[in-house]
Amino acid sequence: MDPKVIFNQHLKNVKPSVVGKFLEIANEYKEIISLSVGEPDFQTPWHIRQAGIAALEQGKTFYSPVRGLLALREQISEYMMRRFDVQYHPKTEILVTVGSSEAIEMVYRTLLNPGDEVLIVQPSYLVYEPMVYMAGAVPIIIETFEKDGFRLKPEQLKEKITDKTRLLILPYPCNPTGAIMEREDLEAIAEVIRTTAMLVLSDEIYAELNYSDISHVSIAQIEGMRERTIVTSGFSKAFAMTGWRIGYACAPQEIISAMTKYHQYAIMCAPTVSQFAGIEALVNGAGDIETMRSEYNMRRRYIVDRLNKMGLSCYEPQGAFYVFPNIRPTGLSSEEFCELLLKKKQVAVIPGNAFGDCGEGFIRISYSFSLKHIIEAMNRLEEFLKELSLG
């Protein structure tokens, strides 16, 4: 009898990503200038790499404890307290994961049952929605708007809550919009959340890349939120450590225990060498964050200024490393715009609809590239828009 491959029905239902399709087109061009990548252009700071090398040299290459090295969890605990004023016990309330991606996945796997509704704020990171499908739950999209600075408003949240709502995904600072939520924004939605039994997954991977005058506020800081919030974060964006695959989740003991159970069977532990590097990052890396943030901030100001001069209205992003301009005045759809820009000027940016239907009419420009590279790309974009308006 021939083998018959039957795929998981949830996986089958997930649509292929717009980004994948777009990349296929982009790959046909040799000399493209890309502003599409979603990871830092900086190398991991040398002292952090050295800590990784030292771990290798000393042969610290065994499995770590399931939850992660205690020394690392202690540092994460101190860091969360120092930076965001939230206390997590290193032994029971922190789980070290393979990137924050795993942390998000573990939250879904441990908290969702078939038919549960998960509220997802969009435009946002394109992983949240398909993974909810794969967990057999139902994603419910909350659209945010340019006029609100892409912030989540309490009335929008209220509207979508049903008795099946289990979880809210809060993606701030936000990829791709660069939006942030300030304390009063969080207070306002917390008021709604407190009237329900739902939990909150706050993806704070871009917390250190906040360019406003006040630094990032975690929703876990807001009254009554810590006990129902899972904060996921990691080292990738703050310390330019994407390839090390290391992140973490902080949450009340009951939730972390359940996640740890899943993590133990599925993953065993996060890469040990990366964990040693992570300790060094948290102990001595504050200066590196500052250097990178000020560099990103320059690029951010430059791009926003150029876009405005080109006549593309653009919400001034306050976080992450993306700008999300509105391209509707061109009369093109996001995908048409990106394909044409690629074809005519060999500049690659990501169509906004990749981040949810409400991202239609926008494009995502990443500024994790050198200023020189960005200047050239902006010059080409300007030419492109001029040619468009001339027909």
């Binding site: 982009a26 890309s34 979603g38 430059y302 200024d305 200023l371 020189k372």
Partner: protein, 159 residues
Amino acid sequence: MEDVLKLLTQNARLSHQEIAVLLGKTELEVDKIIEKLEQDGIIKGYQAIINYEKLPQVPVLALIECKVMPKAEHGFQEIADRVMLLEEVESVYLMAGNYDLAVFVKGSTMQQVANFVAKRLSTLDSILSTSTRFVLQRYKQNGVILDEKDIRDPRNMVL
């Protein structure tokens, strides 16, 4: 001030308006900072960074290590003053170590550089000895990698 200098070091052709945008300052503020940097002699000029290898006639660059007898009261200043005025000389540094003055010289041929050393430099009174090192290949200068073609962005588009 440092942030303006850093930007100009990377690209001296940025306009004051662009620098203002990058640093979140007003154009007027940037005008003032740069004017002051120039007046104080901190910014000495703006030059192109040239990849000489690409010129039809590649000039010869040499480092001449000079041992010098310092003069009472003047130390190395007097000889440095004389050397720096020679038009073939690109840069002069006082060094710690096995020799005293590092003199970078640009000429059109090796012969020309050799002549310069023999006739103009080593004949100066306080120069005790010279040792000439010719540059074979320039890879990076003024912080710029000259042949950047092969440096690819190692990042993969994932999501």
